[in-house]
Structures are given as structure tokens and as C-alpha cells.
């Protein structure tokens, strides 16, 4: 698009360029933008209203439209495509401390039983916590432990690895790595080296497999 006739007497950019500018501003803005605000942000001599009009025409019939919200303008997806947005409507919440701790224990100690989780955390595990993690498909049931009562065990899933960007549970950093990354207070400095017993010591079986380095 080139409209040399539209060139302002000042040094305003061509209208096609002004349209690009308005497009970028409206796209990046966190709320609808008024014509006055647009004018204030465009270089001197620009005609925000005209650029808007061009832009609006350009998006006619597209998947996104330029719509007026009160006195301001914003991009919105075309109403007929609303059904595609269903997956977008997710509410993000942080996992509770209990859930994240339980998850961490399962990830590091898997396969692990409920009793073992409780022992490590030192508190009883509420039913909802495990249910929640199961529902999120971050953990699943593993093999039953061949001990009295044959308790079920928990392990982490592919979905879990995917979410945390891990290729396998073995790639989870060990305590030594956590210390090195500064995630762990290591006041007794190279603690991992000096007192290996504290790190690996009371770990249940599966752990040794994970951390044996």
C-alpha cells in the first residue's frame, strides 16, 4: 500500500507506515487505546484517526478485528471464532505448598508410598493433595510395593516431565546441584562433600538409584 498523496507537509511518515505503527501499538498495549493516546505516541504530524481507519479496513473479515471499546480501540478475535478460544480460558493457580512438596518427594523418591511421603514431610497427607496431583496427570500409580499390606506407590508421569522441561526423572538435579545453583543454603560449605551421609543417608531405596553418582 502506498499513498504518496497522503504525505503530510511535515515529516510525518507515509500513511502506510503510520498504519503499521498503530497496528503495533494496539497489539502490544495492555488495554484499549484512545485516538488521543495514539496521536500522542505517533511521530509528529501523523493522523491517528486515518491510520486507524485504514487498519480497521485491513482487518475486515480476518480472524482478528479492530473494535471500538468506549472511546478506545483494541484488537479482538472475530466473534465467529470464539469456539477456538475455549482452551485459552484456563485459570492459573499456584500449587499449594503441600502439593508441591508431595510432588517433589514423588519425583525424587519414586516409586514411593503414601506412608513414605508422610514420613519424609513429617505430616499427614491430605487425601485431596494426591487426588489433585493424579487429576493433573502429574503423578500416577506405580507398582505395588512387595511389603506387608502391598501398598500402592506413586511415580511421576510424562506429563510431569513435559511440564517441567525434563527429559527424564533422572535429570532432576540432586542436592549437590541444588547447592551449587544456590538454591540451597549450604552454610557448612561444600556440605555434600564433607558429610555425604547427610545427603544420601536416610534416603529410601529408589533414591539411591536416582542419586547414585
Amino acid at each position: 500500500m502506498s499513498e504518496p498523496i497522503e504525505r503530510s507537509l511535515f515529516e510525518a511518515p507515509p500513511i502506510a507506515e503510520q498504519e503499521r505503527m498503530v497496528e503495533a501499538i494496539l497489539f502490544a498495549s495492555t488495554e484499549p487505546v484512545t485516538v488521543a493516546e495514539l496521536a500522542a505516541r505517533l511521530p509528529h504530524g501523523c493522523d491517528a484517526a486515518e491510520a486507524l481507519a485504514y487498519l480497521r479496513r485491513r482487518y475486515e473479515g480476518r480472524g482478528v478485528r479492530l473494535v471500538r471499546v468506549g472511546e478506545a480501540w483494541a484488537f479482538r478475535t472475530a466473534p465467529d471464532l470464539g469456539h477456538l478460544m475455549q482452551k485459552e480460558v484456563v485459570e492459573h493457580r499456584k500449587l499449594s505448598r503441600a502439593a508441591i512438596e508431595t510432588l517433589a518427594i514423588i519425583a525424587y523418591h519414586q516409586p514411593v508410598t503414601r506412608a513414605e511421603i508422610e514420613e519424609i514431610r513429617g505430616v499427614a497427607l491430605s487425601r485431596g493433595t494426591i487426588d489433585q496431583l493424579l487429576e493433573m496427570e502429574w503423578i500416577r500409580f506405580g507398582r505395588r510395593r512387595m511389603t506387608p499390606g502391598r501398598p500402592v506407590t506413586f511415580v511421576v508421569t510424562e506429563t510431569f516431565l513435559d511440564h517441567f522441561g525434563l527429559e527424564s526423572a533422572r535429570d532432576l538435579p540432586g542436592l549437590k546441584d541444588l547447592r551449587a545453583a544456590g538454591l540451597l543454603d549450604n552454610r557448612p560449605l561444600p556440605g555434600a562433600m564433607q558429610r555425604p551421609d547427610e545427603d544420601e543417608g536416610e534416603a529410601p531405596d529408589g533414591q539411591s538409584e536416582l542419586f547414585e553418582d
Binding site: 502490544a28 478460544m85 508441591i100 510432588l103
Partner: protein, 265 residues
């Protein structure tokens, strides 16, 4: 070691500005990120491509630097001294004829490796600069500011990052290791102690009473001990209030804090 040879004489020919620069280095020793960084800076005074650097000359520049630092009584970190020892060794190896019985790497190989390390560090510095000079999100280009959500089929997802996960694990695995840092343990009353103590005593607090009357004996006169035990007991009763074991009230700002046992049921 004789200075009469070709390489040894070089530093003597340093210009005044180069010498000033070298002295400025000394003052600025804290600004260096380790011996390799210092070597890289020194190598610039040779004004040649890093691939043609004289490692022998560089070794001497470095040793000169370390000597000056010593003369100025500047304490150098151990890794600078380790590098100095290694360079002194390398320098002697470079100057002496090779020992035919030595089957380790030759002095030239060692020198070449040092040159390689410098070149690689320099290359990474430049790569870092080029990376940071790129257009960056949130500065030069931008994402959609108004992501859209449609009020339909609302689904809650819980998120956590790997950092959260690792911190959680670290927290569990090290909870016994954490201890408050104190210079003088005689004057410190911990929250755990206070909690332990209050747990035993709270049964007697049937009526509102000032928290300060509950401080242990011997901890209410010395100001430091008083402050520590008061803080510990305050934290302890907050914890107990959270567990529903105790009620806390305060008439107004800075008024005495009062506690009362919460009757079970």
C-alpha cells in the same frame, strides 16, 4: 632465569602508557573475574591477534603483575597465585630445551592450550555481547498485551516451576540443617524452644495475661536476652494461634500483647 633472551627483553620496551595501564590493573584487581580474565586483559597490550599471542611474554606480564601486587601488599586470591605458579612453570619449560625423557605434553602444547583458552573466552565475550545486542522481547519487540480469554468452559490449571519443585525438595531435605545464625548462643532463645515451652505452659493461661509475664526466668532482665526471648515467644504464640491453641489480642498499637488458652472444642 636470564632476561637477556629475545622474549625476556620485551617487557622492558613497554611504553609509558602501557606501564601506566599495567599499574592501573593492579589497583583494579577486584574488577577481574579470575586469572583468565586478567590474562586476557594483559594480552591486549600485545596488540596482536590472540592466535599469534606470545604466551611467554604473557606469562611474564602476569608474573610481573603478581609481583607488583605483592610489592603493594595487595592480597591476591589463591587462584591468581595458582595461575602464577603454573605460568612460572610454563615459562621455564618454554625457555629450557625440551627434556627427551618427558613424555607429557610439550611446553608448546601447554602454551597453545592457554592461547586457545584465551581465544575461547574472548569469543564467548563477543558472543555474549552480540546476544545482548539483539532485539529483545519487552524492549524492542512485544508480545500481545491483551491476551483474550473467553468466559466459557472455565478450567483451573495449577502451575509450578521446576524452581518451585526443587526449592520444595530442598526445604524438606534440609529442614533439620537450618539453624539461626548467632554470634552468641547464650543470649538466644529460639522459636522452637519457645514453642516447646509455651506448649507446656499454655494450659495455665485460662485468662487473658500479658505475653511478657510468660518469659522464662533469667531472660527478662538482660535487654538482649529479653528481646530474643520476647521475639521467640511472640513467634511461638502466632504459630499456636494458627493451630487454634491460643487467642491473642492487643488493645491498641504498642499496647501489651495478651494471650489466653483456647478451650478445646
Amino acid at each position: 632465569m636470564s632476561d637477556g633472551d629475545l622474549f625476556g627483553a620485551l617487557p622492558e620496551r613497554q611504553s609509558v602508557t602501557e606501564r601506566l595501564a599495567a599499574e592501573a590493573l593492579i589497583v583494579d584487581v577486584d574488577g577481574f573475574e579470575g586469572p583468565l580474565d586478567l590474562l586476557l586483559t594483559l594480552s591486549r597490550t600485545q596488540k596482536v591477534d590472540l592466535r599469534r599471542i606470545s604466551v611467554l611474554q604473557l606469562a611474564e606480564q602476569y608474573l610481573g603483575f603478581v609481583n607488583k601486587a605483592k610489592a603493594l601488599r595487595i592480597e591476591l586470591a589463591a587462584d591468581y597465585l595458582v595461575m602464577a605458579a603454573w605460568l612460572a612453570y610454563l615459562k621455564s619449560r618454554l625457555l629450557l630445551p625440551p627434556d627427551p625423557t618427558d613424555d607429557g605434553p610439550s611446553a608448546e602444547e601447554l602454551a597453545a592450550h592457554l592461547a586457545y583458552q584465551l581465544e575461547r573466552l574472548q569469543a564467548m565475550r563477543e558472543a555474549a555481547a552480540r546476544l545482548m545486542a539483539r532485539d529483545q522481547k519487552g524492549r524492542d519487540f512485544f508480545a500481545r498485551g491483551l491476551p483474550e480469554t473467553v468466559e466459557r468452559a472455565r478450567k483451573v490449571t495449577y502451575s509450578a516451576t521446576l524452581i518451585d519443585l526443587m526449592r520444595a525438595y530442598a526445604r524438606i531435605r534440609t529442614k533439620d540443617e537450618f539453624r539461626p545464625f548467632v554470634m552468641d548462643r547464650d543470649h538466644l532463645f529460639t522459636m522452637e524452644q519457645a514453642l516447646e515451652r509455651m506448649r507446656g505452659l499454655i494450659g495455665y493461661a485460662a485468662d487473658w495475661s500479658d505475653l511478657e509475664t510468660w518469659l522464662p526466668e533469667g531472660w527478662d532482665t538482660n535487654p538482649m536476652r529479653r528481646r530474643s526471648s520476647l521475639a521467640a515467644h511472640f513467634a511461638a504464640i502466632l504459630e499456636m494461634a494458627k493451630r487454634g491453641q491460643v487467642d491473642i489480642r492487643q488493645g491498641e498499637t504498642f499496647a501489651p500483647i495478651q494471650i489466653r488458652r483456647k478451650d478445646a472444642g
